[in-house]
Assembly symmetry: C2
Homo-oligomer: 263 residues x 2
């Protein structure tokens, strides 16, 4: 695994393509931006693109392919989005069908791939600033929650904002707000700190996605808009077909994290 950390994205994608890597990508190609994937047919693409434009905190687009193209040109010129993610999920009419490691057989000429920034990107500078990240310490997935914060509607797409949560001391929370503010392309600053009930989370120990983590005495939960939002919203709108990455199995781009920093 240590080896994967320091490998170039193109080499990791090659290993994924030939089936040597089929699991989560956390920590691979350290310093390079990983992305969420949502593939939709062209008939849904305008509404989905508009949805992302209207909800930039939860849906920060880092690339959108041309109609029918499986190459995310601006973030990885030599990649093939149909084969270069370890695991995909297929949804039909909003219903989960199955997981596959290659979607070549599902690809259609009118499909568009949306690559959406992932909070893995800002975790690196947080760690470098000496802020420990609980779900990394506890070796589990980040806890994610549906909130009562409605996304701005766009065409057929509407639904609640999903957030990820990282508990920290208040000093670390302040620093984390400063650091993540520099990364609007990967969710940016938190959208809430403190009382979970204010954003409609009834039980912080029971996340809707991912795993529960320890919140120590004196720590406050810090909530960021999450890239699961567009997937959750799109599924709710029941498009005829939708393909996403499987949780934790992200697309590793050639973009360096620092290229997404605005300051």
């Amino acid at each position: 695994m240590n080896n994967y950390n320091s490998m170039l994205p193109s080499n990791i994608r090659e290993l994924i393509r030939v089936g040597k890597i089929t699991g989560p990508t956390a920590g691979m190609s350290k310093g390079y931006t990983q992305a969420n994937l949502a593939i939709l047919k062209k008939e849904y693409a305008y509404d989905f693109l508009l949805f992302c434009q209207r909800n930039p905190k939860s849906c920060p687009l880092i690339d959108v392919t041309d109609v029918g193209s499986f190459v995310p040109n601006s973030i990885a010129r030599d990649a093939d989005i149909r084969t270069d993610i370890p695991k995909y999920r297929i949804y039909k009419d909003g219903v989960y069908i199955k997981e596959v490691t290659d979607i070549t057989d599902y690809w259609e000429n009118d499909m568009v791939a949306f690559l959406i920034g992932c909070s893995f990107t800002f975790e690196t500078p947080l760690l470098e600033a000496g802020i420990s990240i609980r779900h990394i310490d506890e070796n589990c997935n980040v806890p994610m929650y549906k909130t009562n914060i409605a996304c701005a509607k766009a065409g057929i797409f509407e639904g609640p904002t999903v957030v990820s949560m990282r508990p920290m001391t208040s000093v670390d929370a302040i620093r984390a707000i400063q650091i993540t503010s520099k990364f609007p392309g990967v969710h940016g600053a938190p959208i809430h700190i403190g009382d979970p009930s204010q954003i409609g989370i009834a039980d912080i120990s029971n996340p809707d996605f991912g795993d529960s983590v320890t919140i120590k005495d004196g720590e406050i939960p810090v909530f960021w808009a999450c890239g699961v939002t567009p997937q959750a919203v799109a599924m709710q709108s029941k498009p005829s077909i939708m393909i996403t990455h499987a949780p934790g199995c992200m697309f590793i781009s050639d973009l360096k994290d620092e290229q997404l920093s605005v300051l």
Copy 2:
């Protein structure tokens, strides 16, 4: 004019709507974000939206209306985009037809209005930091140039990036880079400083749009991606109809400049 500076955007828009204001909006409702306008029919909207997504420095979208809606909901709930801009330009098949002060008669049910961030927004914090802005001092329009920096193509839309230029001392230029970096929603950091020929500008004293300004000894030109880019590109692609604001006659939103700052 001083009166207009301190009026609320909704009051200024009312004066515009009834024909009391028909000229440039620079300085009006100080502290509130002004926006460029591009209206296209739905058939061009996906390509244009994608073009803006792929070229966020020149085309920072701050709102996109629903198809057929003339209300820019997220930046001015009570506005009507057909009447609330002092002067519009009508283009057919890429050819300029005429200027009008009301586009109600031109509005069609399949039109979409794109509101694009304007660099007026970051000029306020530059001035507040003690950086003088030459075109304001010389009471003229900002100089704008076509460059050899190609925009990322999207569907039918492609063309060169247009930049605005502000000459400054190197100390001011450094500070200006810091300040404008905080405003990715209104073009963000400069895209070039110094030698104009490096970005294909042959004669800095002869701008393609706007007015020429004095560059003093020891000053360097600082270039920002410009909101004229999407208009220029769209016109070049000759859509059947396109409506824009007239130069300098912007849409004044209810959004405060500071709401667009990421830090």
